[in-house]
C-alpha cells in the first residue's frame, strides 16, 4: 500500500507539473503576443458592460475604441485595462461605465457566478495574476478548478487560429449593434420591482474595489479617467436605486469626474430595450459624444452643464 500511495502521489505531482507547465506556456504566449494592440490612432477607450457596448459606435467617434462588453464587471475591466495600457502607449483617456446596475450586489454573480465564469474565465485567464486567481478561488473554488481545462483548450485553439486582436478575436467586446426596437415589449416583461430592489439596493464592495483599481491604474500611467453613464430609458428598473448610486458616487468616487448621459432624452425608437440603445440611438449618441470630444469639453469646467445643454 505504501508503495502504491507514494507512486500515486509522485505521479499526481508530475501530472500537475505538466499541466501547469502547458497552462503557463499558453497563457504566457497570449500575454506576450501583443494581442491587445489598438489602432495607432486610438487614444480613447471605453470599458464597461452592455450599456456602452451598445451605445458608443466607434465608427462615429474619432480616435476611439469601444472595448466594453455585455455583463463585464470591473474585475474583468481591470484585467483588460492592464493589458490595453501595457500595449498601447498612445492611450490618453479611459471612460468607464458607472451606472446603477454596476454598483450592486447583483453584479457579483457576473464576476464569479458559475454561468459567467464558464466562458469568461477561459478568456481572461491568461491576463490574470496570482492575486486575481486568489480572488476568484476565494469565491468559487470548485468552478475555477472545473474550468481550468476548458481554458487551456480554448486558449490553445485561439493561438492556433492566429487571430491578431484578442478583444474581437475572443468576442471580448467592441461596439455591438442592436437592430431591434423593443421598448414596449420590454415594459410588459418588466421585472418585478419589489424583488429587484432587494438585490439592487445592496452595494457590491468587491466590484467597486476593482473600479478603484482601474482608476488607480490609469492614474499611475497618467491616463485621464472618467466615469460615464450611458443613456438608459427613463422606465428602466435600475433607476430605482438612484439614491444608493449617488451616495456611492459621492462617497467613494468623488475624486473622479462623472459624465452623466443616463437621462439624455432619446426617442423611443432609438432604444433597443429599456437599458440599451439600438443602432439609431447609438449613432445619435456617438455623434454627440464625438462632438463633445472634438469641442474639447473634457478639458473644460462644468462639463455636465455643457452636456445637458448641448443635447438635442
Amino acid at each position: 500500500m505504501r508503495k502504491f500511495l507514494i507512486e500515486s502521489f509522485i505521479f499526481s505531482v508530475l501530472v500537475i507539473i505538466t499541466i501547469t507547465f502547458f497552462v503557463m506556456r499558453v497563457n504566457h504566449k497570449i500575454r506576450d503576443g501583443r494581442f491587445f494592440e489598438l489602432p495607432k490612432h486610438s487614444s480613447m477607450i471605453v470599458l464597461g458592460n452592455s450599456h456602452p457596448e451598445c451605445a458608443l459606435n466607434d465608427a462615429y467617434i474619432s480616435d476611439f475604441s469601444n472595448c466594453a462588453q455585455s455583463s463585464e464587471a470591473y474585475f474583468y475591466n481591470h484585467l483588460k485595462l492592464r493589458e490595453l495600457i501595457d500595449e498601447n502607449k498612445q492611450l490618453k483617456t479611459v471612460f468607464i461605465e458607472f451606472s446603477n446596475s454596476q454598483i450592486t450586489k447583483k453584479i457579483d454573480n457576473y464576476v464569479f457566478g458559475d454561468e459567467y465564469l464558464n466562458w469568461r474565465f477561459c478568456r481572461f485567464n491568461p491576463m490574470m495574476k496570482a492575486e486575481d486567481y486568489q480572488f476568484l478561488l476565494k469565491h468559487n473554488p470548485l468552478k475555477i478548478l472545473e474550468v481550468q481545462n476548458i481554458a487551456l483548450r480554448e486558449n490553445t485553439e485561439y493561438l492556433k487560429k492566429d487571430l491578431p486582436y484578442y478583444i474581437s478575436g475572443r468576442s471580448l467586446g467592441g461596439y455591438l449593434q442592436l437592430n431591434y426596437k423593443q421598448v414596449d415589449s420590454s415594459l410588459k416583461e418588466k421585472t418585478n420591482l419589489i424583488n429587484l430592489q432587494k438585490i439592487i439596493n445592496v452595494e457590491s464592495d468587491k466590484n467597486l474595489f476593482y473600479l478603484r483599481k482601474c482608476i488607480n491604474l490609469c492614474r499611475q500611467h497618467n491616463i485621464n479617467v472618467y466615469l460615464i453613464r450611458c443613456p438608459q430609458h427613463p422606465l428602466f428598473e435600475d433607476w430605482s436605486n438612484e439614491k444608493l448610486f449617488q451616495k456611492t458616487r459621492l462617497e467613494k468616487f468623488k475624486d473622479i469626474e462623472f459624465l452623466d448621459f443616463g437621462k439624455l432624452k432619446l426617442k423611443k425608437a432609438e432604444y433597443a430595450d429599456l437599458s440599451h440603445l439600438n443602432v439609431d440611438g447609438a449613432k445619435h449618441f456617438s455623434v454627440f459624444f464625438d462632438s463633445l470630444v472634438k469641442s474639447k469639453v473634457l478639458s473644460k469646467q462644468g462639463k455636465q452643464l455643457i452636456i445637458d445643454a448641448s443635447w438635442n
Binding site: F11, L14, L152, R153
Partner: protein
C-alpha cells in the same frame, strides 16, 4: 455523478482511503462502506430514485429468501413470478409505457380511430435496466438452485448497488460477485496499479475518442441532408468509434475502479472491432448483456439445439429483445433485427463459433483475409449503428440510401479530420497491440523503462484533461 466528473475525482480517493485504512479489518465493514458510498453516488442524480432502487433490492432479497426456503414448487414459482413481474413492471412503466402508448395510439390512427392515450411525464431512473437485470438473474439462479439465497442484506444490497457497475453495468452475476463480497479484501499492489491503468485507458476512450468522435458524428447525423456518400460513411464510422469508446470506456473505468477495492467485475468488451464475423462481434461486444440473454433467454428457449425454424425464432427473439432493452424506440428494435439477420447465416451454417481465438494471435499483423473479414464485419456493424443512432427508422433508411447511392462515395470527404485522426490512429494502434490482454493498456510498453511508460501515461492524462470540458454523459446511462 459521472466517472468523468470532478466530483468523482474527489469521491473515489476518499472512499479508497476509508476502505483500506478504516474499514480494512472485516469484509462486513468494507461492504457497508461500499454500500453507503454507492447510495451516495446514486443519489447524486436524483435521491428520489434511490427509493426505487431500495424497493427493488428489498423485493429481490426477500423473494430470494422465500424461494430458497420454499419446499414446494408452487410457492417457489409464486415468488419468482412476483419478483420478475414487479421488476419488469417498473421497467415497463418507466422505460416502455410511453412507447407502447404512443405506438398503440398510432396503430389505432392507422385503422381510423382517433384516441388520446395518456402518456407519462417521467424521467427514466438511471441504471434501472442494469440493476433490474442484476435482481432478475439473482432470483432466477436461486429458483434453479444454482445459488443459495443471500441472507446478509448489506451484502445483497451491495451486489445490486455496487457503484462502479450500478448505472451502466457490467451486468454482474451473483455467482461471480457475491462470493467476492464474503471475504475480506486484501490490498494487492499489482491489481491496484492495473486498476489505475484501466481507469486511465477508459477515460482516454471516453473523453478523447468518444467525445471527440461525437462532435463529428453529431454534426454529420444532425445535418445529413447537407452531406453525401463519403461523409455519411464517415459519420457512421465516427459513431461506431463514439459508442465503442463511450461504453467500453465506461466499462474500463468501472472495472478499474472496482480493482482498486479488490473486487473483480465481469469483462464487458473484448476488442469487438477486431472481429472476423458478426457472431464473433457479439461475443466481444457488451459481453455481460449478451451472456445474460444467452443464459436466461436463449438457452431456456432451446438455444441452437433445436429445429432450424426454432433456431431462427430464438435468434430473432434474443436480438429483438436485446434491441428493445436498449430503449423504447423502433430504431433499437430494428438495430436488433438487423444484427439478427447478419448473424443468422453463420448460426444456420454452424460457422458462428469458427473464430473463438484472438485475431492474428501471436502475430503483429493480420493476414489479408483476416483484415478483409475485420473490415467487412466493421462495416456491417456501422450499417447497424446507423439505425441505432438515427432518430427514427425513416431517417436511418434515408441516411443509408444517401450514403450508398450518392455518387461521391469514394471521393474525399469535406469533413476536416486533422484534429481527431492522430488520436484515433493512436487508439486503434494501442487496442491492436493489446488485443490479447484484458484491456489494451494492461501490458502496453511493459518492456520499456518506467520513465518512458510514465511519460506516456502523463501524455494520456494531459490529453484527457485537455479534452474534458463540460461533463459529457455516457450514452449507456440512458438505457
Amino acid at each position: 455523478m459521472f466517472f468523468n466528473s470532478l466530483s468523482f475525482a474527489f469521491f473515489l480517493p476518499i472512499v479508497f482511503l476509508l476502505y483500506w485504512f478504516v474499514c480494512f479489518k472485516k469484509s462486513s465493514y468494507q461492504n457497508l462502506l461500499l454500500l453507503i458510498a454507492s447510495y451516495y453516488f446514486y443519489s447524486f442524480w436524483d435521491y428520489r430514485f434511490l427509493f426505487l432502487l431500495l424497493f427493488s433490492t428489498l423485493l429481490d432479497y426477500f423473494s430470494g429468501i422465500k424461494i430458497g426456503l420454499s419446499t414446494n414448487q408452487k410457492n417457489k414459482k409464486f415468488w419468482l413470478i412476483l419478483s420478475i413481474g414487479i421488476n419488469l413492471g417498473f421497467l415497463g412503466v418507466f422505460k416502455y409505457y410511453n412507447f407502447f402508448a404512443i405506438s398503440f395510439q398510432e396503430l389505432l390512427k392507422q385503422v381510423g380511430f382517433e384516441v388520446d392515450i395518456l402518456t407519462l411525464n417521467v424521467i427514466l431512473p438511471v441504471g434501472i435496466s442494469f440493476y433490474t437485470f442484476h435482481g432478475l438473474s439473482y432470483v432466477i439462479d436461486i429458483y434453479y438452485d444454482r445459488i443459495k439465497p443471500e441472507t446478509k442484506i448489506v451484502d445483497y444490497s451491495l451486489f445490486v448497488s455496487y457503484f462502479p457497475l450500478l448505472v451502466a453495468g457490467p451486468i454482474e452475476r451473483a455467482t461471480h460477485l457475491l462470493p467476492q463480497l464474503k471475504v475480506t479484501r486484501k490490498f494487492n499492489y499489482e491489481v491496484a496499479v492495473s486498476g489505475l491503468k484501466q481507469i486511465l485507458w477508459g477515460l482516454f476512450k471516453k473523453v478523447v475518442i468518444a467525445d471527440q468522435c461525437a462532435v463529428y458524428a453529431d454534426n454529420i447525423f444532425n445535418n445529413s441532408i447537407d452531406y453525401s456518400g463519403s461523409s455519411l460513411l464517415l459519420g457512421g464510422i465516427f459513431f461506431a468509434f463514439q459508442i465503442y469508446g463511450d461504453f467500453s470506456g465506461y466499462s474500463d473505468i468501472a472495472l478499474g475502479t472496482s480493482k482498486l477495492f479488490g473486487i473483480d467485475l465481469l469483462k464487458n468488451f473484448s476488442y469487438p472491432y477486431f472481429s472476423r464475423n458478426i457472431a464473433e462481434f457479439w461475443r466481444r461486444w457488451h459481453i455481460s448483456l449478451s451472456s445474460w440473454f444467452r443464459d436466461y433467454l436463449y438457452i431456456p428457449l432451446g438455444g441452437s439445439k433445436v429445429k432450424t425454424w426454432k433456431k431462427i425464432r430464438n435468434v430473432l427473439i434474443i436480438f429483438l429483445v436485446s434491441g428493445f432493452w436498449h430503449g423504447a424506440n423502433w430504431t433499437f428494435i430494428f438495430w436488433g433485427l438487423l444484427n439478427a439477420l447478419f448473424i443468422l447465416p453463420s448460426i444456420l451454417m454452424k460457422t458462428n463459433r469458427v473464430f473463438t481465438n484472438v485475431v492474428a494471435e501471436g502475430r503483429s499483423f493480420p493476414s489479408f483475409r483476416e483484415l478483409f473479414s475485420m473490415i467487412l464485419t466493421f462495416l456491417l456493424s456501422v450499417i447497424a449503428w446507423i439505425f441505432f443512432r438515427s432518430e427514427n427508422i425513416a431517417d436511418a433508411f434515408d441516411y443509408l440510401n444517401r450514403m450508398i447511392f450518392t455518387a461521391d462515395l469514394f471521393k474525399s470527404s469535406p469533413v476536416a479530420l486533422n484534429d481527431i485522426m492522430p488520436y484515433l490512429t493512436l487508439f486503434i494502434l494501442i487496442e491492436w497491440m493489446g488485443r490479447e490482454r484484458n484491456f489494451a493498456l494492461e501490458k502496453f510498453g511493459i518492456i520499456l523503462p518506467r520513465i518512458v511508460r510514465w511519460c506516456f501515461y502523463i501524455f494520456l492524462v494531459y490529453k484527457i484533461y485537455y479534452f474534458s470540458g463540460e461533463e459529457q454523459e455516457f450514452i449507456y446511462f440512458q438505457f
